[in-house]
Symmetry: C2
Subunit: 378 residues, 2 copies
């Protein structure tokens, strides 16, 4: 098993980060927001490169607003760590000490009558603190206010997602060679995690191995079940490489599949194909869901496709845009997301097929390119 030489992309610079901050401020203004409040998590990583050791009850928040310097509010004792982050080098830092009120430190950075976008995953504790300290302010989640803040990837980000996708494909190329029958799901999951790392992932986020009836629970991870000959096995795996995500699913069969597994797999394959084929600039997110879902519904399995068709991917493996009924966001070149229809037959088996797709000027291009047929494993 060779490990393809992957070139490490050059790190993001302080100018890269400041350019992102400027784009966010412009988008916020256009949306009628007074600014944006970013708490630790993927939004902050994307805007500054800073990730606190732990996300705790201590307030850390980046305030972005027009006509003021990007300002990071941090606990005093985390200031040195924050200042070591590349993006923070170009920003103002203010700190607050334990036993003082962090919202008093943040308040002067906000307009008392302002309306702000705030990170989805900001703690309720902090939102309530801001609402109490500045009763005239209003808030909306960034998913609502600026859902596409991180959705359109630059070429520097796309290069990382492409590398992550290729590594996940390489992992799939090897996992189909290992023995499945008679081994526990957790053992195959451990193989998958090792392969993702071997092919360059610095972080493994999930390695779903759903064999037989376990495959019918789309959120099953991997358990003690011994994989049986004849099982359909859903393999859904991904993590981070160069800070960007991979996420791909294939369903394999241990030895000879039943006709039912073959038929259901083929329906899902066609649904996934239809979802990807629908990708083009100007199509809406729900169009992708509808295209994939129609195939499954027409085949009589509509009730068995119990989740949305896809989700965005970037510095996380799970983010806007969501390919779901009701999401009318138009697709824009540079967006990257999963197309992952599935059919789940309770007590029997499940099938899911997933690729990451990026929107180009003319259509959709897969970042996962392993075979979509039903692979037979031992």
């Amino acid at each position: 098993m060779s490990s393809a030489a992957v070139q490490t992309p050059p790190p993001f610079t302080v100018d890269d980060y400041l350019a992102r901050a400027r784009r966010v401020v412009a988008a916020a203004s256009e949306r009628g927001l007074s600014g944006v409040l970013v708490t630790p998590g993927p939004d902050l990583v994307w805007l500054t490169g800073y990730q606190p050791t732990a996300i705790t009850e201590r307030l850390t928040v980046l305030v972005l607003a027009p006509d003021q310097e990007p300002t990071l509010v941090v606990p005093t004792l985390e200031r040195p760590d924050a200042e070591a982050a590349e993006g923070v080098r170009g920003m103002k830092v203010v700190d607050w000490a334990d036993a003082t009120d962090p919202y008093l430190v943040a308040a002067p950075l906000l307009r008392p009558d302002g309306r702000y976008g705030i990170s989805d995953s900001a703690w309720a504790l902090h939102l309530l603190g801001l609402q109490k300290g500045l009763p005239g302010t209003a808030y909306e989640s960034l998913t609502e206010g600026l859902p596409m803040m991180r959705a359109v990837k630059g070429p520097d980000e796309l290069a990382r997602l492409t590398a992550a996708g290729a590594a996940a494909d390489a992992a799939y190329g090897e996992i189909v060679k290992v023995r499945f029958a008679g081994r526990r799901e957790t053992e195959v999951a451990a193989n998958l995690a090792g392969l993702l790392r071997h092919f360059g992932h610095e972080q493994v986020d999930f390695t779903v191995v759903g064999s037989g009836p376990n495959g019918a629970n789309p959120h099953h991870e991997a358990g003690d079940r011994l994989i049986q000959p004849g099982d359909a096995v859903v393999l859904d795996f991904g993590g981070l490489m160069f800070g960007y995500g991979s996420d791909t699913t294939r369903t394999v069969c241990v030895g000879e599949p039943t006709q039912a597994i073959r038929d259901v797999h083929e329906i899902v394959r066609l649904a996934q194909e239809a979802g990807v084929a629908a990708v083009r600039p100007g199509a809406t997110c729900q169009d992708i869901d509808r295209a994939a879902r129609a195939v499954i519904t027409d085949a009589g399995y509509g009730d068995a496709f119990i989740h949305r068709t896809g989700h965005g991917i970037g510095v996380t493996t799970h983010e806007p845009p969501y390919m779901v009924e009701g999401e009318e966001q138009p697709l824009v070149p540079g967006m990257c997301f999963s197309v992952e229809p599935g059919i789940y037959l309770s007590g029997r088996f499940g099938v899911r097929i997933e690729d990451i797709v990026t929107v180009t000027q003319t259509g959709g291009v897969r970042l996962n390119n392993t075979d979509h047929g039903l692979a037979l494993v031992e």
Copy 2:
């Protein structure tokens, strides 16, 4: 190196969980709250044993209120996982499907004019969704509304914390035997992590190795620095064992300490001693901070003690109650928290000493019992 045989405590039962839920409802009513909303994280683990595979933008919330059955709202595709949790077996479960509005599912469980406590770490996204869907409701963070919800540990919890503390002590007993000089902080940190696991931790949360000047940054974890002869080295480590936390700190010296290191270490030792000595039912949290801080301030190092004296511990390693100026919560038998004063001399070194202490009917008892003197390592 022997691994003391530790008996696995019996698992919590559905009745244990339901008893906790009843206590929470009673405490909420007493506090004038209409109920409590608990999202995934430690509060939910404590109340149900349920921890979703990932905490995502999909709403999962446990609604506890008087005169209604505890009800868990979950995404449809996570329902099987949720129902597998011991505590959830005794509760009602309602689910919502992708592309439907989860707040519409949650709303009938709330009083339109109610005031609810909500998990500190609930996503702002969800709080804003509830505020929008039910504009007459009000919210406060559980830290504000029911800060002591998980603070008083039952005997079943204390047994787990005691085991975790003893395991951390055993790890310390071994780490002082390894070589420090000439090795990187990260190597010693890896030794520490291995020892915590060896002695029974299922999860390692942090292994701080702050050598020389790195010890002066209380949030330094461990880096590439080669540890030098003469360095003071802060070792702060912990994780989870049987689902409950450990967290202890000792500062060691590589070879012969300078008089400055000896003096500062002795001040911190006395401060920690004073903090622990102040623990008794009815004393307030800030009394503990004041007792420890007074020793350091009197010795002229007040400015160098830049964090609060302690934090609670339970199903997390970092939770209320906080031993900090302004926190007037009285101590109650069964509370468990850290007492961890420190002195941080920028560019030179840092010293911190930390034990977990539990409040008894008459005073405080340490759950960490390794020597508090300045250990000399090689």
